[in-house]
Symmetry: C2
Subunit: 404 residues, 2 copies
């Protein structure tokens, strides 16, 4: 695609109905101390957020979007007219879209512990004038939800028409329904779980070890160095595989090589190296250079992630995921859901092997057993865990129907 095409596309996007268009982030900052689930406190905090659409006079049309591990508050619209990458859920949110900003006031905040403007390990501790680093208190999903409630209160929002999220966002959705039942009219949780299982913990742990064992991590690293960029890239490359599926990777990449090779030769010979820019330059022997497209893709994913994400936030947020177990926190999943007032839609995706359909079904089943209003939908897809983020008319119809 050449520049002229790009401009055309952008102009079209800007003028067409259906796009949120230009947006800018805002900060909610409080000087009230916040006490985390583990008992530790910080002297105030900030949540960075965005909103789309307008709060109505009755203040009852607000929809909260909760983001996943590596997401942020920027879930729709663009930040500048040259911005070619809209927010991460731009396909779902906008005027006339499934989450219709002509009708709803849509909000999304970067989670506490994050690194996109909300308070987290990379923020400055006002008591020391230095970044918190690993003195930032351990964060839980419930901490994320409780800080979001303080922020929504500050905006004068009296109830949520709906709270919507996938993956870690779905965990927050469930926690919202339990923590502030009267506040939440509708809960829409996708590709999620009520209990982080052993395999998911295991993948998180390998990512954390890659970061912590990187010499540049240096016990939390601020402000000494650029941080454990290699470790974070490794963590992201691995995690990224768990968001896809065998079938989707095979369709997208298969065994395609970066450069076609005469048969019989070592296919690695004379393949140019795609460096991990910003990482200490290492020249691997030619046979270990990028050879397959899937390798180049993963290296790119690792590389772009280290430019936008803080390694300590990655440690904190993966630990919040690991800690999430509603049944154990409340005796049983039915007991956990006992306070729920609103109606819930749970959506599982057949090819999601990180939080497989069974785990989503278990949420719906427990809500049902607890006597709550709940529907469960299972969408057939071969796109893996990331299915909830991708173009899907079936999903749009479900969301639209649920919000009607």
């Amino acid at each position: 695609m050449n520049d002229a095409d790009d401009d055309d596309l952008l102009t079209a996007t800007r003028s067409e109905p259906g796009e949120v268009g230009l947006v800018e982030p805002h900060d909610f900052a409080t000087a009230e101390p916040f006490i985390f689930d583990n008992g530790q406190a910080i002297p105030g905090f900030t949540l960075r957020y965005e909103t789309y659409g307008r709060l109505n006079a009755a203040r009852d049309n607000a929809i909260l979007i909760c983001h996943a591990l590596s997401g942020d508050h920027h879930c729709a619209g663009i930040h500048s007219l040259n911005d070619r990458k809209p927010g991460w859920w731009n396909n779902l949110i906008g005027p006339g879209k499934a989450v219709d900003t002509n009708q709803f006031f849509v909000l999304c905040a970067n989670v506490i512990g994050g690194c996109q403007g909300s308070s987290g390990p990379s923020s400055v501790d006002p008591r020391t004038g230095k970044p918190y680093g690993i003195t930032f208190p351990a964060v839980t999903i419930r901490d994320m939800v409780r800080t979001q409630k303080l922020w929504l209160d500050s905006l004068g929002i009296k109830s949520l028409y709906a709270v919507i999220g996938g993956s870690m966002g779905g965990m927050q959705v469930l926690q919202w329904g339990i923590e502030y039942p009267a506040f939440v009219k509708r809960m829409l949780a996708m590709a999620t779980t009520a209990r982080e299982g052993a395999q998911a913990i295991a993948f998180n742990e390998v990512g954390r070890q890659a970061i912590i064992q990187d010499p540049e991590w240096n016990h939390g690293y601020y402000p000494k160095s650029g941080g454990p960029r290699v470790g974070l890239a490794i963590a992201r490359m691995m995690a990224h595989i768990t968001y896809l599926s065998d079938a989707s990777m095979d369709r997208k990449f298969g065994r395609k090589t970066i450069q076609a090779k005469p048969k019989g030769l070592d296919a690695a010979t004379d393949v140019s190296e795609l460096s991990m820019e910003g990482i200490d330059p290492v020249t691997p022997p030619i046979a270990f250079n990028v050879q397959f497209e899937v390798e180049s893709y993963l290296r790119y994913q690792g590389q772009s992630f280290i430019n936008r994400f803080d390694a300590n936030s990655y440690l904190y947020i993966t630990r919040a995921l690991d800690q999430f177990d509603l049944a154990s926190a409340h005796g049983s999943l039915e007991q956990a859901f006992a306070p729920v007032v609103g109606t819930t839609l749970v959506v599982g995706f057949t090819s999601d092997w990180l939080f497989p359909p069974e785990q989503n079904r278990a949420i719906a089943l427990a809500l049902l057993r607890a006597g709550k209003q709940v529907s469960y939908a299972e969408l057939s897809t071969d796109l893996g865990h990331d299915s909830f983020l991708l173009e899907s008319p079936q999903l749009y119809d479900l969301v639209r129907g649920f919000l009607r």
Copy 2:
């Protein structure tokens, strides 16, 4: 289990029929240059191997066992009377077992490129007096098979009653049938593939990056340092997850913690650290210490691996896996199997998500289409890829039946 119990067990094991008992490795060493698939040569090589049972007068009762990525030549018996860990396929191989050493002469060699006594990157290059390091030629599955053939020739073995292997061992089995069709009477390939797919390549690539980007790797590292122990441990931890299954990990570990915690507290508090011994000591903040049993298990797997495996061999052998694509090498899978003479049994395992049943079925189907004698069995198990290594009366019956 106390020492007395151990001794009883050992005594019982030694005296009971059914055990191979004490074994010792041997070396096949040749000073003939070997030319690898990529055209590079080394001036001779060594394969370390073991044998169990006796070659009969007709020399037609030999069964070759091929090992997987992290396996070696020691697949049955014990190395000393105090050896508590028998060879990796000891449950399958022995007098009266499925691969009956009363009847068969069983052999297994460490692959070329390996690090358990066979020539590989950690071996000394006689031309320089220094370890090959990354000057060792790139290795393919076909190179593994061709070096094994030279070794079997040296033993005067005229044909193989069977060749048996799982995972990368299964790839060698297929390659044997194609490369030396008249030599191989029976092929038994389990939990394998005829074509390394994008997801498997992706996991291999993350492991390689963890190793190569470790500063201690240092472009191949011999003899400078102990090598990229951190990177190799990370690679192994991640790979180990792919050998198991969500269900088996959940059953074995679930969310069990290392030490029970009062509810509501950050469960990480006061958990003692299980260090990665031998790795530069890092004291992670308390919240990132081992907390779940699955974390401790994975760290142990990483730790024990770096004490027995060479990081450069890991790079070489994973690249051999990535390169494996019989269809592309021969035009189609049917064409690849055209030369096959012997009869084949392919075994897939329902919960294997590294080389799933479809990929095993595809091998059997292609053999069938090529007009060959082949059976396919799919075993129901929830133990993941490693199912082929584990206790399984169904598998034993299949193997026994196939060898009859």
